[in-house]
Amino acid sequence: MLYRTAGQFKTSYRADQALFPIRQDAFLLGLILVCAWVVFPLTASEFTFQTILTPILIYSLAALGLNILTGFAGQLSLGTGAFMGVGAYACYKMITLMPWMNPIIAILLSGVFSAGVGVLFGIPSLRIKGFYLAIATLAAQFFLVWLFEKWAWLYNYNASGAIQVPNLDMFGFYVSGPQASSMTQYYVVLTIVSLLTYLAINLTRGNLGRTWKATRDMDIAAELIGINLMKSKLTAFAVSSYIVGVAGALFVFMWRGAAEPNLFDIPLSFRVLFIAIIGGLGSIMGNYLGAILIVGLPVVLNTVPGWLGIHVESALLEHLNIMIVGSLIIFFLIIEPHGLNQLWRLIREKLIIWPFPH
């Protein structure tokens, strides 16, 4: 009933191709944006910012980047963590070499470096695909993490080998470092994530998006109808790695505050891949749903038993979390390979035609 589309007529192709052909979708997104921009910041505690809001946004962005490569363009990648690291280290070097630089500009520029590295490691995709490409990106993963460890210039010859985010201010507010408030950082992350998501939606619904999907679905046919596969795959690597790199810079500068090389190791890659798979490959919204689940689940497991007055060992919680995430992944791979996004699509379809069964 809420989703009734009767009376919403489209009289031009422009209207039919609009971002929200159905009014209720626009309303729903408006509601979410109001929550994200106004309601959450007004009500959230320091703990909520640090454990839920900011990490969900950052992980969503990283998953969005991976999804463009794997979900839209069909190129499997296991190197997401390392590409996030490239973004983080690039941002760190820029900030320390040029302390006058605006931190937001630095974060947005750091994606350019990871895009370059991504294209470089994407070149094998012109020859190999599927599992073999995954192995090639795995090589990138190991090589880059090794580089973060061994190339002391990257962490300014720190004795600890880790990078420490300095206090950076913008218009009188600290946006990163120990003195920055969680709310300011949340707003910076939200701005960048909203902007990049909007651009990614446009890219995926336009000509480039169709080119990527054609490459994913049947590359030989794509080439025979005029798609330059090299260009299609490398733009996918570039756009994907750019977004992942920015997510990496946000990860360290707006959330963690410090990073060691092994933070970007393969568990991070897998975490982002899980978010993309559970959320739904080939979707934009799925990344957010997946991140909410993966980031939110441990928090829920930690707090709910306390409310109920049940005492659970923290080691047990850790194990429970791993077991639940693991079984969810298996569940989705079998029952709903298109992820949470597909579930929402089915619900929406049902709501539109309700009360009729089909």
Binding site: S12, Y13, R14, D16, Q17, L199, N202, L203, G206, N207, L208, R210, T211, K213, A214, R216, D217, M218, I220, A221, A222, E223, L224, I225, G226, I227, N228, L229, T235, V239, G282
Partner: protein
């Protein structure tokens, strides 16, 4: 050769123009196997040209040479009055050679509309930045190309399925969507690899009608491979017959039908 460049008039009164594409002494080998042996023929503007032959005669290989997927070891491909240099398949497609496939090669994860829109990508020029911002050039281009695509969708009578994911469609409709995708590119030369394979009589009739209409309405030159002899003889203006990689006949359907080599190739001949 020069005497023929003016073209000819078909039995039903259609004017056929000059040579659009000419294959000159094409030889294609895979290792020791000779798939195509010294074949020459031409395709004229506005005609429907068929390539027929028994299984394994090298017809599909020939089509793949035309669309640039295989590169022949010997011979030249002339296109629009010049020798075509060795180029990648996507470059050939961008020069106006469209095609469909023997085994349907649609993009299964996309809707019918998106599939057909993909056919127009060679006409879309907005840069990646313009597409990311969307407002302005990218949107105008998207709407303009959508209008072109809708004309094709109307023409092939697939309006009702335009938002259906291709994976859900039955076989006959998939073939039609594939034709739509190829037509959306507005090709000068359209290659059809067994457009009627696996269809029932009714679907074949529909497809034949569409092929004739496309040729008539848009003036598209068509080269097709087909096994159904009745269809081939009715549709095409001229026919090339291949057997074991060699050309054994070339001419109007009537000429080919009465060619002894062709009859032998199809019916078999006693070797003694």
């Amino acid at each position: 050769m020069d005497a023929l460049t003016e073209g000819y008039v078909t039995e039903d009164g259609r004017r056929i123009g000059g040579v659009l594409m000419e294959m000159k002494n094409i030889t294609l080998r895979f290792g020791g196997v000779v798939a195509i042996k010294d074949i020459s023929f031409d395709i004229r503007e506005g005609e429907i040209r068929a390539i027929i032959g028994p299984n394994g005669a090298g017809k599909s290989s020939m089509l793949n040479v035309i669309s640039g997927f295989y590169h022949p070891q010997e011979g030249e491909v002339w296109y629009k009055g010049g020798v075509r240099p060795s180029m990648k398949p996507f470059e050939v497609a961008r020069q106006g050679v469209g095609r469909t496939f023997q085994n349907i090669a649609l993009f299964e994860g996309m809707t019918v509309l998106d599939n057909v829109m993909t056919g127009r990508l060679t006409h879309m020029k907005a840069s990646i930045w313009e597409q990311a911002i969307w407002w302005g050039k990218a949107e105008r281009e998207e709407v303009h190309n959508r209008e072109q695509v809708e004309k094709i969708i109307d023409f092939l009578e697939i309006q009702s399925i335009r938002k259906t994911p291709v994976g859900r469609l039955p076989y006959g409709l998939k073939k039609r969507v594939e034709l739509a995708r190829a037509l959306a590119a507005e090709p000068s030369l359209l290659l059809l690899d067994e457009p009627m394979a696996g269809m029932n009589v009714e679907e074949k009739e529909d497809m034949s009608r569409f092929i004739l209409d496309v040729n008539d309405e848009f003036g598209t030159t068509i080269a097709l491979i087909e096994h159904d002899m009745g269809v081939v003889m009715d549709l095409s203006d001229r026919v090339v017959v291949m057997d074991y990689g060699k050309k054994i006949g070339d001419g109007t359907p009537d000429e080919v039908r009465s060619n002894q080599d062709v009859i032998d190739a199809y019916l078999g001949v006693a070797h003694d």
